[in-house]
Amino acid sequence: MDFELAPEQQEFVRTVRAFVDDVIRPNAERWDEEHELPMDAVGQMAELGLFGLPFPEEYGGSGADFLTLCLAIEEIARVDSSLAITLEAAVGLGAMPIWHFGTEAQRKELLPPLATGEALAGFGLTEPGGGSDAGATRTTARLEDGDWIINGSKSFITNSGTPITSFVTVTAVTGTKDGHKEISAIVVPTGTQGFEVGKGYRKMGWLHSDTRELAFNDCRVAESSLLGERGHGFRNFLRILDDGRIAIAALAVGLAQGCVDESLRYAHERSAFGKPIGSFQALQFKIADMAMKTELARIAYYRAATLKEQGRPYKKEAAMAKLYASEIAVDVARDAVQVHGGYGYIEEFPVCRHFRDSKILEIGEGTSEVMRMLIARELGLPQS
């Protein structure tokens, strides 16, 4: 067993770290305050090829593997979760469904602008009435004169309203089959009549990532906008979410590592009772636990990503990595604030933002409860 990253992955990690230190770190706090996706930074991430990492070069990508994408997400999340989720959602939710389920014509048309980062796409699954119960989709699409007519709404859709968003893939009920809802995925270009993108939410964290509510009122798109087979929408997005969970685990590890880094530094700098606070056993034990949890979560996502690369089953490992990494990220962020004392509650210190950014990790792309249900099912426990 070899726990080393390939030399080119190590070199790439160093590159991304330098980029993050130069371009993102000096601005993250200001962007968080401005609540707006910094398009300049997104453009620079695109120049670095981040949005096309796991796609072949003929589609505008870099031909890297999925783990390499996760490494980039982790590096960015050490400093800025909003930009890390922007990248994660752009690749995992925006481009990946096209890559996996698109026809060759759809791939050729839709993928290159996403892979080069000229455009972003969203994936709309969650609805006001339910996210975990994705099968309860109420949005409908019916065929009429060779067009899909879409009606309904979606909530919390990442990257759906940026200045460069070119489309959103939405799930909709396209009929019934054997008494079950038939769910399909349809590509809806930005600007289509009847497709309305709402204002951003007032969120707890991820303040400069783009999250919006979408409304569809007799929104009409060509029949060829169907993505993947009709009726396979549900099955297909479950697969997309498996991958996404590994990437969210990487994001959580990045956030936790950022908290460990900041706490280590502060524990040296800050003194109380005439000694650096890092010399007190209570804080030493806390920081040791933070570092341990982070390292174990990292190993969990490396393992899930490796299984996926090897073409072996990884559903359970992906759910475990996501569940563990997101829960330790919240713990580690809370402890990092504690290490910082009152300053941890003040925005000038990054751990304050990290704490706000951490909670969503236990919710997005499958809640902790859903992860436990999934793991239980994979373990073969009887289902109610």
């Binding site: 080119e8 070199e11 590159t15 980029f19 090829g49 070069e57 870099s62 031909g63 390499t68």
Partner: protein
């Protein structure tokens, strides 16, 4: 346009350095491409993009110095040449210049040689000028902006008072300052492509240099820490404070 960029592999300047017998400890420490040389590589790449041609990276150092060449290749340079030889350990600036001159001549005809103003570890700043003399080409040092490089070069040359606009025929050697551009980051595609780019490993024998030519003329007599800065003068303002500050600035020739 054939461009040669001199690159140096140095101990990571972000990690406190250690001494080993009067010299900076180099083996077993994390090394990086000298951040000052990234500006040289970027200058070379921009010229190539504007005028076509090839960017060749030349370095002298232990085998691990290949990392610096790889870094430059990942950024987009075309090929690399590393001179490695046990006899070169602790080489002085003159020996380094001789070795690089021989390596550059061996790599073929060139239009422009680019180097950083000085290395981030040694800071002598004498190597590039020596190299230009050995190559018998004009040198333009401290370039903070490069205008054209079409047959001749026109450059803004940083001076203490401002800058000079200098023109020189090619081939020539320039040294670039940290203000000249912002070096690009290596993309994953660049890193993968670098693995397939040609690199040459040469010894001093391959360059036809005699052992005399590579014997350092400089000896390091001793190394000590710089004198700690003395405490400044504190002026209590008894009404003549401003006068005293003005005198101080006059003495320092600031006003």
């Amino acid at each position: 346009m054939n461009i040669v960029v001199c690159v140096k592999h140095i101990p990571d300047p972000n990690i406190p350095g250690e001494l080993e017998g009067g010299r900076l400890k180099r083996s077993g420490v994390q090394g990086v491409l000298d951040p000052g040389d990234e500006f040289g590589v970027e200058t070379g790449l921009q010229l190539k993009e504007a005028h076509g041609g090839e960017v060749t990276l030349v370095s002298m150092g232990p085998p691990t110095a290949m990392e610096a060449i790889r870094r430059g290749l990942s950024m987009g340079a075309d090929k690399g040449l590393l001179v490695s030889d046990d006899a070169l350990q602790g080489a002085c600036a003159l020996v380094t210049a001789r070795v690089l001159a021989a390596a550059i001549k061996k790599s073929g005809p060139f239009d422009l040689v680019i180097a950083g103003v000085e290395s981030t570890d040694g800071y002598t700043g004498t190597m590039p000028s020596t190299l230009a003399e050995l190559l018998d080409v004009p040198q333009v040092t401290f370039v903070k902006r490069l205008d054209s490089a079409d047959g001749t070069i026109r450059a803004d040359r940083q001076t203490a008072e401002g800058y000079q606009v200098v023109e020189s025929p090619l081939p020539a050697l320039i040294t670039v300052t940290a203000g000249v551009n912002s070096p690009r980051y290596a993309s994953f595609k660049g890193i993968m492509a670098a693995k397939k780019k040609p690199v040459d490993n040469l010894s001093i024998g391959d360059l036809g240099l005699s052992s005399e030519e590579v014997t350092s003329m400089q000896q390091i007599a001793s190394v000590g820490s710089a004198e700690a800065r003395k405490a400044g003068e504190v002026i209590e303002d008894d009404g003549t404070g401003a006068q005293r500050v003005a005198e101080f600035l006059k003495e320092a020739k600031v006003i």
